[in-house]
Symmetry: C2
Subunit: 357 residues, 2 copies
């Protein structure tokens, strides 16, 4: 059966990095991978076209696709839109929610060739390999009630609701325990159980799951301490599991520890293995269209797609090896270039990966 891939380039550098990643997908197809690639606009590009960040027909295509490749959404052009329900980000949030992509995998991996790029001392980060498992369709991002109101006395207030039920916590917990089983067998659950009741439930459910995974060592950490430990001694972590909001913050901090966020892919999966794959970095409108963007995070997102949604682990590994090879060849886009390396454009980087593939 032909697998259907939907490519959503989005805004800023989205189109140029997605282009290179699609070339890699096409190379896989040339080698026998039975896929069909379709493209659609999303985010600001779709707002400019139709007034909303996610068109109903694009959502339908996404639902029936086996996997989605997303570039990036957003930019200053749309940041000042008064109605946040129509901003580019809402297209992304709607895709996550409507496709039930609750399991967000965000690796923070330091490539040995790029240890210099980190703002941390080499001994603190070399060999860093953390997997952050973030709950993506619940928590304060989607909790009701939410909104802004003016009270009778004229005072304005704003509110959101941080809510989880045990099923939501249990299913992301399982993803994380299973991930830990496949990796270093250490799972750290991050919460704020000394203050927030919702995260006491989170901790309880993680503890309830633990006996089912006796080979995994479960620990708990408060989110403030986790932010500190990521800076102090990040290599203490193997897999981290946390809610939507804390995961947003910690995964970005963890990614930045590597100094090369342009290298980091991510996967967002539902219970059927359907997934959306995107780079960890954003749309970087300041460098869009100049050939400066690093396509490797998006190319590595294709590798995650092959591994997690298309059941093609071997081809995934080949892409990852090709990326390692171009780094060994000292080829670098601007974001990771330094003296002694050869700076290449977005497209040249794509060429090099294809050659090494």
């Amino acid at each position: 059966m032909t697998k259907r891939i939907l490519a959503l380039p989005g805004d800023g550098i989205g189109p140029e990095i997605t282009r290179q990643a699609c070339r890699v997908l096409e190379a896989c197809r040339d080698e026998g991978l039975d896929i069909d690639i379709e493209e659609a606009p999303v985010g600001g590009a779709e707002i400019d076209r139709s007034g909303v960040p996610l068109a109903p027909e694009t959502l339908e295509k996404a639902k029936s696709a086996d996997a989605i490749l997303l570039g990036a959404v957003g930019g200053p052009k749309w940041d000042t839109m008064p109605d946040i329900s129509k901003r580019p980000e809402k297209g992304l949030l709607a895709l996550r929610k409507e496709l039930n992509l609750f399991g967000n995998l965000r690796p923070a991996l330091l490539y040995p060739q790029l240890v210099e790029a980190s703002s941390l001392k080499p001994e603190v980060v070399s060999g860093l390999d953390i997997m952050i498992v973030r709950e993506l369709t619940g928590g304060i991002y989607f909790g009701q009630p939410r909104g802004r109101e003016t009270r009778e006395d004229g005072t304005r207030y704003g509110y959101n609701t941080y809510i989880y039920d045990e099923h939501e916590i249990r299913r992301i917990g399982r993803v994380a325990f299973e991930m830990a089983q496949k990796r270093g067998k250490k799972l750290c659950s991050v919460d704020k159980a000394n203050v927030l009741e919702v995260t006491i439930l989170w901790r309880d459910i993680m503890n309830e799951l633990a006996p089912e995974y006796p080979d995994v060592e479960l620990s708990h950490m408060y989110v403030d301490n986790a932010a500190m430990q990521l800076v102090r001694a990040p290599k203490q972590f193997d897999v981290i599991v946390t809610g939507n909001m804390f995961g947003d913050i910690l995964s970005d901090a963890a990614a930045m520890l590597t100094g090369s966020i342009g290298m980091l892919p991510s996967a967002s999966l539902n219970e059927h293995g359907q997934g959306m794959f995107e780079p960890c970095h954003g749309s970087a409108p300041d460098i869009a269209g100049q050939g400066l963007a690093n396509p490797l995070a998006t190319i590595l997102s294709v590798a995650m797609m092959l591994r997690y949604s298309l059941n093609e682990a071997d081809m995934a590994a080949r892409i990852e090896q090709a990326v390692g090879a171009v780094l060994d060849q000292n080829l670098r886009t601007a974001d990771i270039a330094y003296t002694g390396t050869r700076q290449v454009t977005t497209e040249e980087m794509g060429d090099a990966v294809l050659t090494a593939f």
Copy 2:
């Protein structure tokens, strides 16, 4: 008029570090500062005594004090208490709320003598001097409704409410703008306005305040990006203002950038200048009672007390200079010691500060 200071040593290393800080306060008294120092238990120590983390009579003493010096609360002994409303942390939260200590100042300052202690490269952090202004009596820490419940179908869920009204935001905004005026005139407000309505209001109020402080350059940053930027290039920040939860996370990350969280004080102030002063670090039960704890953060908290609550800026500066002098003498407690420095005990560090004072 004699000023009344309430010392709350708390748990773990709390008593030993508070002792050294009180010696410094006593030295100030010997030099003419008109103060009266009283002591009371709080946190786990009070739970062990009376079953609650904050006794009503201690709360009364705190309310009538001009300033409070807090050591640290909490420890594994009380972490598994089923009822979080009775845990040590609730004593701290109750003090903050009952005294209306909404303005939390958390400096992240790298002492030139300690640049080696940071896990970041020297060029990234040397000269680091950030002031984080955290809202401390609102937001998701105190929002209602909150709790845990079981639905009719037997599903457990937990929830908290992230809520602010414009007055709460405006008063912490003023603290932050005024702080920026006294420092580098740059204020970065951190929110998640692309997702959370409550932080759209936050951003609006900050923008409304800006024209009153034309000499301050206001910028906005999403919290995930702020966590990244703190790791990537922390010296871009002067003053950061944010809500209770984000402030908890970012201030700990920022403190850890210095590698010497044992050096960092904090102040929590209300509208009358009454304040609670405490080290940024926790109760470190693993090293309690061994003379290993660093008393400098608590001693520097006394300096903040003198500056912000007792209107004794000169004496505050003398304490800060004394701390600089002992670092210049190469004296270090275990947490900041490295080859070539002289390791001293908690009490010896206190002695040295008093000698240099």
